[in-house]
């Protein structure tokens, strides 16, 4: 029996039992759809984060104390920072540009303006932040080097913070209270956008000197260094690290480049996606077992038909192929429906929810191959059982 004939016979058999075929394939449909949605969300998240990190400028190097932990995308939490503001000058010498280095100290505090009060991320920054992080100022201006050195109590708001504390009004020139201390707002940063519903714009920048005093800290969390060109990033990061190591031989530092960060984010997201997809794939497995079960029932129900076909000259192989094709057809149809559901589901999620989702071209292809493979895997056992039936015994069955 040729493949095409086997296909037609299988199609007839499935058509004869439409409802059962549909229900049987439901597990495959759900499994395939779920895997496609998960993979799409993973891909969408990766694309969004990558574009955000790239938005920082591909020339960025972060200098942090401790050993940069590529597993957690953070420096060793146990290590207390030994970086001081002065170390920024060392780094600036290496780059050859005093404006290409910016220090950062991150904390949080209760912020109040008029009747509005909220806990907000407070960034201790210096005058170079807009340049180094490519964050343009929308209104007013960023604080100056003089503001930093003179420890002036001035603040620059993120766009969301501005909207929260001064809805519909211009915050420049107004007063806010950060951790009980009054600050004058001198500027508002341009909107940076959201990532997973968490705004990058919900923060208050104050001069790092003021932040140190406010939080009772001497240290600097990190320096961000802007390399003159992307090509110089690897070499520059090595030199930055060497200079700090020479200054503090007993301590560890890391100079992290954007490529490294992207690599780590990619690894984390890949792992996360794989785990979630595997969980979704369990439904596929359950669906496959369902197909196997129904095929066994079908073989039993059609024992006489099998006996007859063998009596008329069907070989063991012909019967096996017939039932295998039937199982593969069942799961493939489920796969196609699942792909349609998964792709449209992903598009809906991307459009209607804060989650990003992007359908990779290969995921429907892989999904189809997998669904067919599930049919082969779970169809072989029932099909072999059918093929091995003794025609005399099978013909007597009822």
């Amino acid at each position: 029996m040729k493949g095409l004939e086997a296909f037609r016979v299988a199609l007839d058999a499935l058509r004869g039992n439409r409802l059962r075929s549909l229900l049987t394939t439901l597990g495959i449909v759900i499994g395939i759809a779920a895997v496609i949605v998960v993979v799409s969300i993973g891909a969408g998240a990766r694309q969004q984060i990558e574009s955000q990190v790239e938005g920082l400028g591909s020339n960025l190097i972060l200098v942090v104390p401790g050993q940069f932990d590529t597993q957690n995308l953070s420096s060793n939490a146990a290590a207390v920072s030994t970086l001081q503001r002065d170390d920024g000058d060392l780094l600036a010498d290496v780059v050859g540009d005093p404006d290409a280095v910016t220090a950062r100290l991150t904390s949080g505090a209760q912020v109040r303006a008029g009747a509005v009060e909220q806990f907000v991320t407070v960034q201790g920054s210096d005058q170079n932040l807009p340049e180094v992080f490519t964050r343009p100022v929308a209104e007013g201006q960023f604080f100056t080097g003089t503001d930093v050195e003179a420890r002036r109590r001035v603040a620059v708001l993120g766009s969301r913070t501005a909207e929260t504390f001064f809805p519909g009004a211009d915050p420049v020139g107004r007063q806010i209270t950060v951790a009980g201390t009054r600050f004058q707002v001198v500027g508002v940063l341009a909107e940076q956008g959201e990532s997973f519903g968490v705004s990058q714009d919900n923060e208050v920048h104050v001069p790092i000197t003021v932040a140190q005093r406010l939080f009772g800290l001497q240290r600097v969390d990190a320096f961000a260094v802007k390399s003159p060109s992307a090509a110089q990033v690897p070499e520059l990061s090595r030199r930055l690290w060497r200079v700090l190591k020479a200054e503090y031989p007993d301590q560890t530092f890391s100079a992290v480049t954007q490529t490294q960060i992207l690599g780590v984010i990619g690894d984390i997201l890949g792992l996360l996606t794989a785990v979630l997809a595997a969980i979704a794939g369990i439904s596929l497995l359950v669906g496959g077992v369902g197909v196997s079960n129904i095929m066994l029932v079908s073989v039993r129900e059609r024992t006489r038909e099998i006996g007859l076909r063998k009596a008329l000259g069907a070989r063991q192989r012909d019967v096996l192929v017939q039932f295998l094709v039937e199982a593969v057809l069942l799961t493939s149809v489920g796969g196609v429906i699942g792909i349609a559901l998964g792709v449209s589901g992903s598009l809906l999620i991307d459009g209607l929810s804060p989650l990003p989702a992007s359908v990779e071209w290969w995921s429907p292809v892989v999904a189809f191959v997998v669904s067919a493979a599930v049919g082969v895997f779970f169809g072989v056992f029932p099909a072999r059982r059918a093929g091995r039936l003794d025609p005399v015994v099978a013909l007597r069955a009822d």
Binding site: M1, K2, E5, D12, G16, R304, E305, L308, R309, K310, A311, L312, G313, A314, R315, Q316, R317, D318, D390, P391, V392, L395
Partner: protein, 261 residues
């Protein structure tokens, strides 16, 4: 091939073999046994049967229930293998054939007609009849054409696209005969073909079998409980307790099966 509808032909009385001169053994069984065992009990369904069916012969097998007639038919039809003894079909020893070769042999040499018709309920008459050709690798269009021809030969030219559920028992059995015939086998084996039919339909089926034997020279072996049906066959074989009790061919001393009745 002459394809005159059988309905227009008078029923032949005693079917005459088509080519009496060129006979040779289509099936040859020598001291064949078949036993079934489950656990420690063994049932000997056949206890040493020697039996030859020649080309173009018309044989009726009779015997009490449980005597081993169906078991013998299954062996003759290559659906089963003997426990011991030699069985040759179309000159080939079954012991030397693989299961796949056995399947091919029954596809080419044997046509089966069952008591319970054994039609696929959802398939049309044409598709049912075409089934043996499917396993012979014949293309779709030719398959349907030959199936339609075969159906016309049993007088069902007007029932081509009917399904079994839309046909009478007699018509269903004629579809089954058309199916047995479509591959132009040398031997047609019918195990109680009229067992599920009333006498009028039974007579019609018998008439068709006799005519096929007479006109095409297909060897027919049929099992029957009906003495009248058995009486019309040239050769009768009586089976009892797994042994051939009486064989009219042997009595007449012509192993090739002389005219009895």
């Amino acid at each position: 091939m002459d394809e005159q509808p059988v309905d227009e032909q008078p029923a032949p009385g005693v079917p005459a073999p088509a080519r009496p001169a060129s006979r040779r053994a289509a099936i040859e069984a020598v001291d064949v046994t078949r036993s079934y065992s489950f656990g420690d009990t063994t049932v000997q369904a056949l206890r040493g049967v020697s039996f030859t069916v020649d080309d173009g012969e018309y044989t009726a097998i009779v015997g009490p229930s449980g005597s081993g007639k169906s078991t013998l038919m299954h062996l003759l039809g290559c659906l089963d293998r003997p426990t011991s003894g030699t069985l040759r079909v179309g000159g080939r020893d079954l012991r030397e054939l693989s299961d796949a070769e056995l399947a091919e042999l029954r596809n080419r040499e044997i046509g089966f007609v069952f008591q319970a018709f054994q039609l696929l309920p959802r398939s049309t008459a044409v598709d049912n009849v075409a089934l043996p050709l499917l396993y012979r690798g014949v293309k779709g269009a030719e398959r349907r054409e030959r199936a339609a021809q075969s159906l016309r030969a049993v007088g069902l030219g007007h029932r081509l696209t009917h399904r079994p559920t839309q046909m009478s028992g007699g018509e269903q059995q004629r579809v089954a005969i058309a199916r047995a015939l479509v591959g132009e086998p040398r031997i047609l084996l019918a195990d109680e073909p009229t067992g599920n039919l009333d006498s009028r339909n039974g007579a019609e089926v018998m008439r068709i079998l006799e005519q096929l034997n007479a006109e095409r020279g297909v060897a027919v072996v049929l099992v029957t409980h009906d003495d009248e049906v058995a009486g019309r066959a040239r050769r009768q074989v009586r089976v009892r307790d797994g042994l051939v009790e009486r064989d009219t061919a042997a009595e007449h001393g012509t192993a090739a099966g002389g005219g009895a009745a």
